[in-house]
Amino acid sequence: MSIIIMLLIISLLVATGFLIAFIWGSKTGQFDDSFTPANKIFFDQTHQPTENK
């Protein structure tokens, strides 16, 4: 039965790691702007300007 206790501790440790990552992310303002980064991914730096409509 002690294996369950082991698993319990490990699972909580892993989850706490994510929680700490979340807290760090919020405190440094990484969730303040959800619009800009989401759009930046679509900007193609090497895109050649095509014939404009």
Partner: protein
């Protein structure tokens, strides 16, 4: 066919239809020179990708920009306010660019380094519409950066103080709230998972008993941060409410949380059960979620603007030789000479010494017509210069100007809004009932079984916590606030919504609120004018810069006047000699009438000394306002700082009895609202200018009407886009329905409570029952409010059909 030609003359840059002959460049049509010059800059820097991301994504370049506009940024002391970071050969400056609206904007603004080599890179913060530019100060100055942004259509919006400090604080509060929710959610999910043995009754199967206890203690450990960190605000708020001797909804919630936690600790330590830590942390999680949803902030709006954000950051100071330097507005001293440019706001009280002064005080006094001043007249702070540059001798420094005094008047600051919501009232009744039930069940079991007595009493308090009410209210209000902002009405907080639902009297300001701030109509009254007279008068008017003259020239269809013998008398009128006739155009006194004849926005005409008649210039009501006035089922008052000239016009269009009060000073407006409230009315005040500020703060709901969200507006409970004003009745109806929705969902959650109470009173409350009841009631509530608010949006908000559109 017609459609095709129309489409082909849409501006390539901003997408507006081109009026008149389009400006053609590179085979592309532009509506104006400004738009085509932006295209040329982008084209040169190989940034035309901008147009591929969105069709016609550009910001319209309407007016010619003043080359001196950002000259004040050359003053290092002023510029320092915009530097957020600095190291050798690199500084970062931050600007607020209200024009940012789409992903194309982001793309262009983050590629500024391609336009100028002095810029390293730049980053956009979309929610606050801020741009941070990292630049080399050796290669490009801060002023040049601001001008560069202006040249591509994103002119920085710079004012003395736009509540940046408050916004930063808001940001921190929002982050803390998010962390609290995150921790509560994390612990809630883990506790629920670890409670599974409990739900399935596994503690009887595990013979050594060790497992169940380990799970329970881990749960207890996980519940601590939820209660002590995430849930702390409930305890803090309730202590605060006790101190204020007013019970709010947090007090019974704090009691329920304390009882739940206490009983859970007792059960775990004594080994008799697993407690209700899962329900407790779940409830805290959902309540926090609801609150954050409801207090969603509008990052680019500010409701409590300081008056200083109305003024320019710097003024142009003239030394004895007439050289211009820019200094911060606070540093201007008495006896300095400053230069005010066209369309600038005058920041100090002073004396007019040079140039032609036409001062528009409409924002301060509500008077519609600009005031002409002669040399030597006093100019008061807060006015806006309308015709070219003037020089002003400063009489009082900025901190002592008349505008600041008006703003700091105590009567304007004191506000006595209702700050209790009807959910508080319900929760108080609710608490009384719950406590009665809890004690009754304790007394009932006390005789037979003391253990059961404690169990049933605590179970009642756990189950019947008013958190369902809180969740109901916060989620409904959150949804409705979202719907409102989608339709152009931004509320300061959820309490405003409840106050809107209560109103029974509406008060409107006239100038700028019911009427368009600038559009006007002109009609002539008096002896008919001959065609030649009309032509001469039109030409005279066209040669004057006065707004009333401009309106007359427009009415007479004359664009340019070419009269040689013309003389303008500042503050009075114009006279001209043409065709051997002496024409006079101006104020009543100027043409020889007495002051008693003067009634405001009118221009008198005299030909060869005999008064012919007058042109009357009138503000025009906003489109569909007459529909709104007819539809509103409440008494209506129109307050105006203007003269009563327009009463007949208003009466003709607003076909219902409305009380009109004219010549109202800001203080009288405030007193009128006070008078209504003392008579027991719940008043909504709708205004736009500073002269309404006092009335807005005194009313139950003060709505500031703005043409766009960057425009300076007085402190208010809500900000409304002016084109949405005719829909005001629909917002009020929606607010009333949202109150009904809260009541309905509350009844549903009470039904769940009754089921829970049955189990508690009979002392059968098992953790499993609690674990099923709590999430299912929350789920039902959230679903009902979501559905309900969608229905409210569908049935309350209907676009107004424009009769003209139907004809077309």
């Amino acid at each position: 066919m017609l459609n095709k030609t129309l489409e082909s003359t849409k501006c390539f840059h901003c997408g507006d239809a081109c009026v008149g002959e389009p400006v053609v460049f590179d085979d592309k049509s532009f509506c104006c020179k400004g738009c085509s010059s932006v295209y040329q800059i982008l084209n040169k820097s190989n940034l035309c990708e901008y147009y591929n991301l969105h069709d016609a994504s550009g910001v319209k370049m309407s007016e010619a920009r003043d080359p001196q506009k950002f000259a004040f940024l050359d003053n290092p002391q002023i510029a320092a306010n915009y530097i957020v970071f600095s190291k050798p050969a690199q500084i970062a400056v931050q600007f607020y660019l209200p024009q940012i609206h789409c992903s194309s904007c982001i793309w262009l603004l983050e590629n500024l380094q391609k336009v100028h080599e002095g810029i390293y890179f730049s980053t956009v913060h979309f929610p606050t519409k801020e741009l941070t530019v990292y630049l080399d100060p050796e290669k490009i100055s801060i002023r040049a950066t601001a001008e560069l942004l202006g040249s591509v259509g994103y002119e920085p919006y710079i004012t003395l103080n736009d509540g940046q400090e408050a916004k930063r604080e808001q940001k921190i509060v929002a982050r803390t709230a998010m962390i609290k929710i995150g921790i509560a959610g994390f612990c809630f999910a883990n506790i629920m998972m670890l409670s599974f043995p409990e739900y399935l009754g596994l503690e009887t199967i595990t013979r050594d008993g060790l497992n169940a206890n380990v799970f329970r203690y881990v749960n207890l450990l996980l519940a601590l941060p939820v209660l002590l960190y995430s849930g702390a605000e409930f305890f803090i708020n309730s202590v605060f409410s006790f101190k204020q001797r007013r019970l709010n909804i947090d007090a019974p919630i704090a009691l329920a949380l304390a009882v739940t936690f206490g009983r859970s600790v007792y059960e775990i330590v004594s080994g008799t059960g697993g407690g209700y830590l899962d329900s407790m942390s779940g409830i805290i999680f959902f309540m926090l979620l609801g609150r954050s949803f409801q207090t969603k902030t509008f990052a680019d709006l500010s409701f409590n603007r300081d008056f200083t954000s109305y003024f320019p950051v710097a003024v142009c100071l003239l030394d004895k030789e007439g050289n211009e330097t820019f200094v911060p507005v606070q540093e201007v001293k008495a006896d300095d000479t400053i230069r005010i440019r066209n369309n600038e706001v005058i920041p100090v009280d002073g004396m007019h010494i040079k140039g032609k002064a036409e001062i528009d005080y409409s924002f301060v006094t509500g008077e519609n017509e600009p005031v002409s001043l002669a040399i030597g007249d006093l100019i008061y702070a807060g006015g806006k210069q309308m015709t070219g540059a003037i020089d002003v001798l400063v009489v009082k420094p900025f901190s002592q100007n008349s505008f600041t005094k008006l703003w700091n008047n105590d009567a304007f600051k004191k506000s006595d809004k209702n700050d209790y919501s009807f959910t508080t009232v319900i929760s108080n009744y609710f608490s009384v009932v719950v406590l009665t039930v809890a004690f009754s069940s304790f007394i009932y079991w006390y005789g037979t079984n003391l253990d059961y007595a404690w169990q049933s009493m605590t179970a009642v308090l756990i189950v019947a916590c008013p958190c369902a009410l809180l969740i109901t209210a916060t989620f409904t209000e959150g949804f409705v606030l979202n719907i409102f902002s989608k339709h152009g009405l931004f509320l300061k907080n959820a309490l405003v919504l409840q106050n809107i639902a209560k109103i029974n009297q509406v008060v409107f300001d006239k100038t700028g609120t019911l009427t368009y701030p600038h559009a006007s109509t002109v009609y002539y009254e008096g002896k008919p004018l001959s065609a030649i007279d009309k032509e001469v008068i039109g030409a005279m008017a066209a040669q004057s810069m006065h707004p009333l003259s401009k309106a007359i020239a427009k009415e007479l269809n004359i664009v340019q006047g070419q009269i040689a013998h013309i003389k303008e008398v500042a503050g009075a009128g114009i006279e001209a000699w043409e065709n051997e006739t002496h024409y006079k155009l101006g104020s009543a006194v100027f043409v020889g009438k007495t002051l008693e004849d003067a009634q405001g926005s009118e221009v008198w005409v005299s030909v060869d000394g005999s008064v012919f008649g007058k042109f009357v210039i009138q503000n025009v009501l906003r489109a569909h306002v007459e529909r709104l006035i007819q539809e509103l089922p409440y008494p209506i008052t129109v307050l105006s700082g203007d003269n009563n000239r327009s009463e007949a016009y208003l009466k003709q269009y607003l076909q219902r009895p409305v009380q009109y009060l004219f010549n109202q000073t800001p203080k009288e407006k405030l007193q009128y609202i006070d008078h209504l409230r003392n008579a027991g009315k719940e008043v909504m005040m709708v205004g736009d200018g500073l002269n309404d500020a006092g009335a807005l703060s005194k009313s139950n709901v003060g709505i500031a009407v703005v043409d766009n969200t960057i425009q300076f507006s007085p402190a208010s409970d809500a900000i409304m886009l002016s084109e949405k004003l005719p829909l005001l009745d629909q917002y009020i109806r929606a607010a009333k329905w949202s109150k009904n929705l809260i009541k309905t969902t509350f009844v549903i959650s009470t039904l769940y409570n009754v089921v829970g109470l049955y189990f508690s009173v009979t002392a059968q409350m098992s953790p499993l029952v609690a674990a099923i009841l709590m999430p299912s009631s929350t789920f039902t509530i959230v679903m009902t409010t979501m559905l309900g608010s969608a229905l409210i949006e569908k049935f309350c908000f209907q676009p107004i059909l424009n009769p003209k559109n139907i004809q077309a």
